[in-house]
Symmetry: C2
Subunit: 337 residues, 2 copies
DNA sequence: TTGAAAGCGCTAACAT
DNA sequence: ATGTTAGCGCTTTCAA
């Protein structure tokens, strides 16, 4: 095992020339004779020489690697974001190191240190549900790493951001329910320390108020997981005055709601309409199909990466952070009409 | 921007001592005086010193990094595998570089070269649907990198493998349909250049034969994507003698089948029963719920990583590749009974 | 046209 | 108890 890999020195030794000549020949330096170039390149091919990226990173203080800190890979939205990141990075010859925080603050901090230690050139971040202190991210910036936030951004930190307009999307979703005659609309809210959680709730409230409806605090329930949604739905059904619509902060909770409702024999959408958020593979699969906000994961990943690579490849003196807001459209399906 | 990061030299210069003393102090070397240790560690903390993993990799010819080559992240199965990989690697202080082949041979080759170039210590691989030539993977082995295959393995290459018993699982799934009275069972087959595709078909055929049923080639259709499943299902329904059961090579095709059937007013499972493969988030969401083989993605990822790390951390002279077969159980739900 | 030497950050054998 | 030196693989300035 561990038969060490071919280096420039090996090629130099075999050919009886110096390492620097080999290096130059490999990058087609004009000074090198055609003869030498051919010999070097042929041998390199034969020995399956692969440049040592580690040595290059050390030499250039540039790793051609970007880091990603993401809550959990096993969500369709996040895995599509990664897919977008990967594709753009691959095209540009960049390597991607992906770290999951698993929604844990401590692990997110460890991830940040690890990326700093690996001297990645920049980092894409979507913070965990637990994160309320951002020193570890500031540390990255202080280390000279450009940061690009996506989806779960940190307004307190000055950096590039890629988001959808969560407030607007939530507003549209709620308004859609109202326009379909719903008057008591419940909201399954996400964590309020995340901006997306607050924004979605805000949008919901704006639509309610604008329609002259009463915002009932009892109808706003913290429920951002499938399990919590099951409980929350059953709770809603015990009320004297149960809701006639539910706007959930993500698709999984919307589906939890649908299943609880159907188990109790409630008709969707006739008795209670349901709308989700973050259109994934699920929405077309439920019966009825789920109305949901399309969150454009792949596009978010690719745009965020383009912004980051742009910072890396053409650094400007005047750093003006940009915020890209992707349009989020409501896809209306059977669960709400 | 690009304010370079703190190094051991910086600390040495500030403290007026040599870099090697700093290095030793940081790793709590017994020779170093308590006084110096305290001074060094305090300053390191204050300056937020993070060891340069790149320099360490070069020095030790060991990157503490493992590579992963995976077809597509945006599949629940693969993303749960990654989750298992990540968790085990994280615990052991290893970094993970994930590459997607996007089911393309060329990109898989590029991924392999990239990982070799980055001098990862070992690689976890699940090959693409297109891959029939394995030189790029042999190249990794020749470069001294231990390989561990999972799910989509390559029997031609001598290496560790983690799989479920696909043949057995497919047999069980088909037998289950037969025991429920089905006599004409269709199979949506995966790519036959993948062993898992062949094995699943084999298991299907064995169950059919064992029950004394006729294997009808017309009932075996290449369909491994959602779209293909829609077409295949409609095709089946045009037959004079349509099937009364479908065993699909994955859940997405099973769901495609269910939706096509329901659109035509066919009752599931009364008229046609459906069984999928690779139990994911979907199975509990369809109506009726989907009977499926649980593929244990997370476990597959964690076991594969443990095997790889074991090879790395305690290399033995006698290399005996192991094959770990995880038990795969059929989860029976409403779509088939 | 090619080679020698220095250095990226760190460690470890070898001084002192 | 601490410093000096060499080297991991590669590039690049300077010298020949």
């Amino acid at each position: 095992m561990r038969s060490s890999q071919v280096t420039i020195k090996d090629i130099a030794r075999i050919l009886g020339i110096s390492p620097s000549t080999v290096s130059r020949a490999l990058k087609n330096h004009p000074d090198i004779s055609e003869e030498t170039k051919v010999a070097v390149n042929e041998l390199a091919l034969k020995l399956k020489y692969q440049p040592n990226a580690v040595a290059l990173s050390l030499k250039h203080s540039r790793s051609n690697t970007i880091g990603v800190i993401i809550p959990e890979i096993v969500h369709y939205f996040f895995s599509s974001v990664i897919s977008g990141i990967e594709d753009v990075a691959y095209e540009a010859g960049f390597t991607v190191i992906i770290c999951q925080s698993n929604e844990k603050y401590d692990r997110e901090v460890a991830n940040a240190k690890m990326l700093l230690s690996h001297r990645v050139d920049g980092v894409l971040v979507s913070i965990s549900k637990e994160t309320t202190n951002f020193d570890h991210l500031v540390m990255l910036q202080e280390g000279g790493l450009p940061l690009v936030f996506f989806d779960r951004i940190v307004p307190e930190i000055i950096a590039d951001q890629v988001i959808i307009n969560d407030e607007e999307a939530a507003y549209k979703a709620t308004k859609h329910l109202i326009e379909n005659g719903r008057r008591r609309i419940a909201h399954f809210a996400g964590p309020q320390n995340l901006l997306i959680g607050r924004d979605r709730k805000e949008g919901y409230l704006r639509a309610i108020r604008e329609a002259g409806l009463q915002a009932d605090p009892q109808l706003i329930i913290d429920a951002d997981t499938y399990e919590k949604a099951l409980i929350a739905t059953n709770h809603l059904l015990t009320m004297d005055n149960p809701p006639d619509g539910i706007f959930a902060t993500n698709d999984l909770t919307a589906i939890g709601a649908m299943q609880s409702l159907q188990k109790k024999g409630i008709k969707i959408p006739q008795q209670i309409a349901v709308v989700g958020f973050s259109d994934g593979r699920f929405s077309g699969i439920t019966e009825p199909n789920l109305t949901s906000v399309d969150q454009h994961g792949y596009e978010m990943g690719s745009v965020a990466t383009e912004i980051l690579l742009n910072r890396l490849l053409s650094p400007s003196e005047t750093y003006v952070p940009q915020t890209r807001v992707l349009s989020a459209n409501l896809i209306v399906r059977g669960s709400s009409k």
